[in-house]
């Protein structure tokens, strides 16, 4: 009986050692919703309010960057749950950094409602020659 209990404890310990990093990883993930912005046609800029969520076990100073430009910073923060107005004219990467160390990132994509249109070319390739 004792030996089976011991085995169970060992199994639980081993199993928990796998689970813990996964759980930590999921809490460290930067979540920005929505992650897709719809525009009417290709080339249009997109302006929208997104919800930014992030959690960390330890309090830390963190700044959110849109590609290379800094949007906002938090000091000594464990939980981020805020609304943010963003403007993008192409697919962009949002990165949460702490003193140049990347904590997490997420991409926001631009999708067009109208698909790109194509038409037939009317002159042969290099017809100038």
């Amino acid at each position: 009986m004792i030996s089976s209990m011991l085995k169970l404890i060992i199994y639980l310990f081993v199993f928990s050692s796998f689970i813990k990093p996964l759980a930590a990883a999921s809490t460290n993930k930067l979540i920005i919703k929505p992650s897709v912005c719809m525009v009417k046609k290709f080339g249009d800029s997109c302006q929208m309010t997104v919800k930014v969520m992030w959690h960390n076990e330890q309090p830390t100073d963190a700044c959110l960057f849109q590609n290379d430009s800094r949007l906002t910073c938090w000091q000594n923060v464990r939980d981020i749950n805020t609304d943010l107005d963003i403007l993008l004219d192409q697919d962009m990467k949002f990165t949460l950094k702490s003193n140049d160390k990347i904590l997490a990132y997420q991409k926001i994509k631009i999708n067009t409602m109208l698909p790109k249109k194509y038409r037939r070319r009317l002159r042969a390739d290099w017809s100038i020659f």
Partner: protein
């Protein structure tokens, strides 16, 4: 009344057959496209004293709007577009003057290697009559042509193009026309490779041939010969082989030969009975 109906037909029917997917024969509407080809080649000059043009760097610019388009040196406006037929009003720079000069827009990025490949008139075989060098004749002017272009799409891989043009800046006061049949082919054995083969003919009116290739003692003070131009029909073929290396890089082979008929070849200015274009290189789409 019948002209009104024709105009109504031309301007009302506009149900363009859209390209279903991205391919080299389709252009994205509303986007400028720019590509640069780098390689080695030559565009021969059939005139006495004219330089062959080395082809080293070849830029290509195109734009297709809903109706407006610009491709190479052609500016056009499509007035009729359905599944099989596209009719456009076009204007373009006539390239005839390019044989008489070195600063044609198509040569902007091309290095001059003229000293190495210029044919010296003194070594030219005098086969049919005494030759006349382009330096001995009066300066020819640039002509701007305008007219109508028909594109008849027979099937997905075959099309016929007809251009009927007239100069609009009172240079040669004549017509020129081009008829061309193009067939696109791909091969199972060569994936990502497309071959385009064209046969066609350039038709040049008496006025054009006479202005550019005619000679007379009254027009050209250093020339004794009198040569009157006549309507000229010059057939040609073009072969373009293109292999996609990556999303933006292509390897390209371009061959073209124009055969000059006697009405042009008989001009004392003309030394060759054909004009050849050969280019092999790579191109990058920006």
């Amino acid at each position: 009344m019948k002209y009104y109906l024709l105009l109504l037909l031309l301007f009302s029917e506009f149900c363009a057959a859209e390209c279903e997917k991205v391919s080299d024969s389709c252009a994205e509407v509303g986007e400028w496209e720019f590509s640069l080809a780098v390689g080695a080649g030559v565009y021969t000059n059939p005139l006495n004293g004219g330089d062959n043009i080395p082809l080293v760097v070849i830029p290509k610019i195109s734009y297709y709007g809903e109706r407006l388009f610009f491709e190479n040196n052609t500016l056009g406006y499509t007035v009729f577009d359905n599944d099989d037929l596209v009719i456009s009003a076009i204007t373009l720079l006539n390239h005839e003057k390019a044989y008489f000069t070195r600063w044609h827009p198509q040569n902007i990025f091309i290095e001059s290697l003229s000293s190495g490949i210029t044919t010296d008139v003194s070594f030219v075989e005098e086969s049919h009559q005494q030759k006349v060098n382009i330096q001995d004749v009066s300066s020819r002017r640039w002509a701007i042509d305008a007219g109508i272009q028909f594109n008849w799409f027979i099937d997905q891989a075959t099309d016929v193009q007809v251009q009927i043009l007239h100069d609009i800046n009172d240079v040669y006061n004549g017509f020129n026309s081009q008829v061309e049949l193009t067939r696109l082919m791909s091969f199972k054995q060569l994936p990502n490779t497309v071959m385009s083969f064209s046969i066609g003919a350039n038709v040049k009116s008496k006025g054009l041939v006479d202005y550019y290739y005619g000679t007379s003692p009254t027009k050209d003070s250093n020339v004794e010969q009198d040569f009157q131009g006549k309507l000229s029909i010059n057939p040609y073929f073009r072969l373009v082989l293109m292999h996609q290396l990556s999303e933006r890089w292509h390897a390209k082979l371009h061959l073209k030969r124009v055969f000059l008929d006697n009405n042009m070849f008989d001009s004392p200015l003309v030394k060759d009975s054909h004009i050849s274009t050969v280019f092999a290189g790579v191109s990058y789409d920006f």
